[in-house]
Symmetry: C2
DNA sequence: CGCTACCTTGAGCGTATTCAAAGGTCGTGG
DNA sequence: CCACGACCTTTGAATACGCTCAAGGTAGCG
């Protein structure tokens, strides 16, 4: 595998020069993992962080009574586990693969060496963590201030946005996983989707493809300015 | 005001040497603000970050329909607004003073200069952001996986822990604010406190002082292994 | 002492969860 | 290619938790 090429292509390391990519490639270790395979757990010592080369990874917490909450779904080219690198101790959550994946692992100590010597790399990491923080603040707001229809609407609009405002949103994860990501359960998500369909806000094209029929009403829904009919 | 002394005393800048504290003091600007005064809003350009010298600051989001959610309460010696320094753009939330406060403001550009030149400072900031991220991940879990009694129990135990596992927890914020911080409303918080009292888990000593009667049962409550009686 | 803000209490309601079960879909192996 | 099983999705009915609305009580502060 051409590690350097993959490293240069990630957003996190973009803008760094060839030499820096080379240094990173030197310490990166390729790891493969199968669908459902655990990558790290809450209790694991944080020995480094990862970048997803191909596949998909799920970051989640488990409450004492066994319920899961997905914090983040990591797609190709995105990093995860960075927190463990800079704050000593274990990982703050669990990670497993949603599908067969190939990862690059950056060992903590060697990576820190690089960061210390290279201020442009450290600025990249600071920006990365700041972005993560922004996302999580939004997630906190979503969970506490919005109902499930609004959360789903927000999610769909965000996905659409990331695809050039396409009307078609292809769900990258199963509906069960999506329910969990939105902080609810499959039954509730299913019911709400049905209501969105019957209100002509969205339509299903294929099993995992949704067509947005009205961005505007979806937006109103996301902002709590519209309510779904009751059925 | 002796800026350098205050800077040296914050956890964020502890462990740095005298020279570094001096540099930080040079760029720091003292700001005073009165209770309820806005420090920055969502829309403000992130021109720098703050440290609370004295007083108390509230970080919160506002949903489109006007509901507030406190993300964080910042006490003395703690920083806030760091995110805006490293990810371009505006602040991710609102900030206002819960009481008359004195702050130190670190202008973005000048602070970034220091960070770029000083790897120990950048490591401090990376650790700081990572810690913030940890907290928020926990908050997401709390809000989505736990009910209000469990969230309150967790909060009380955390406060107790930070005070040497004292049995007495002195609320630093009003119950309304606490309710909001826990993602609920004053009415609900009041009812749940009443049930905790009647179950002999806590007792009120003064208006804002709570005595923990059973750490163990509070812990069970936090972990969802105990339910309050219904009344 | 009176005002204001905060806290408590009650009743009713709505949203989402739980529990239970049936219908679909996908991958695997026969 | 079809049959089977596992998992995902959908649907229904009942429940529960927390919220809204409304009002009364309490405490701090000028």
């Amino acid at each position: 595998m051409d590690k350097k090429k993959h490293i240069a292509e990630t957003a996190l390391f973009s803008g760094l020069n060839d030499q820096q990519h080379e240094e990173l490639a030197k310490i990166a270790i390729e790891k493969k993992c199968r669908k459902k395979q655990m990558i790290f757990t809450n209790d694991d010592e944080g020995l480094g962080f990862y970048i997803v080369i191909s596949g998909q990874v799920r970051i989640f917490r488990i409450s004492p009574d066994g319920k899961e909450q997905i914090i983040h779904v990591i797609g190709e080219g995105e990093p995860f586990g960075e927190v463990a690198v800079f704050s000593n101790g274990n990982y703050p959550a669990y990670a497993d693969a949603l599908r067969d994946s190939i990862l690059l692992f950056f060992p903590r100590d060697r990576f820190i060496e690089l960061v210390k010597m290279d201020s442009s790399l450290s600025m990249k990491m600071l920006a990365d963590l700041s972005g993560r923080l922004r996302e999580l603040v939004s997630k906190v707001e979503e969970l506490s201030l919005k109902d499930v229809p609004a959360r789903l609407a927000t999610y769909l609009l965000l996905q659409s946005e990331q695809n050039d405002n396409s009307d078609i949103v292809h769900l990258e994860i199963s509906k069960s996983q999506l329910a969990n990501l939105l902080g609810t359960i499959p039954e509730t998500l299913s019911r709400i989707m049905r209501r969105m369909v019957s209100d002509d806000i969205i339509a299903f094209t294929k099993a995992r493809s949704i067509r947005i029929l009205s961005h505007e009403r979806l937006n109103d829904l996301a902002f709590g300015e519209l309510r779904l009919s009751r059925m």
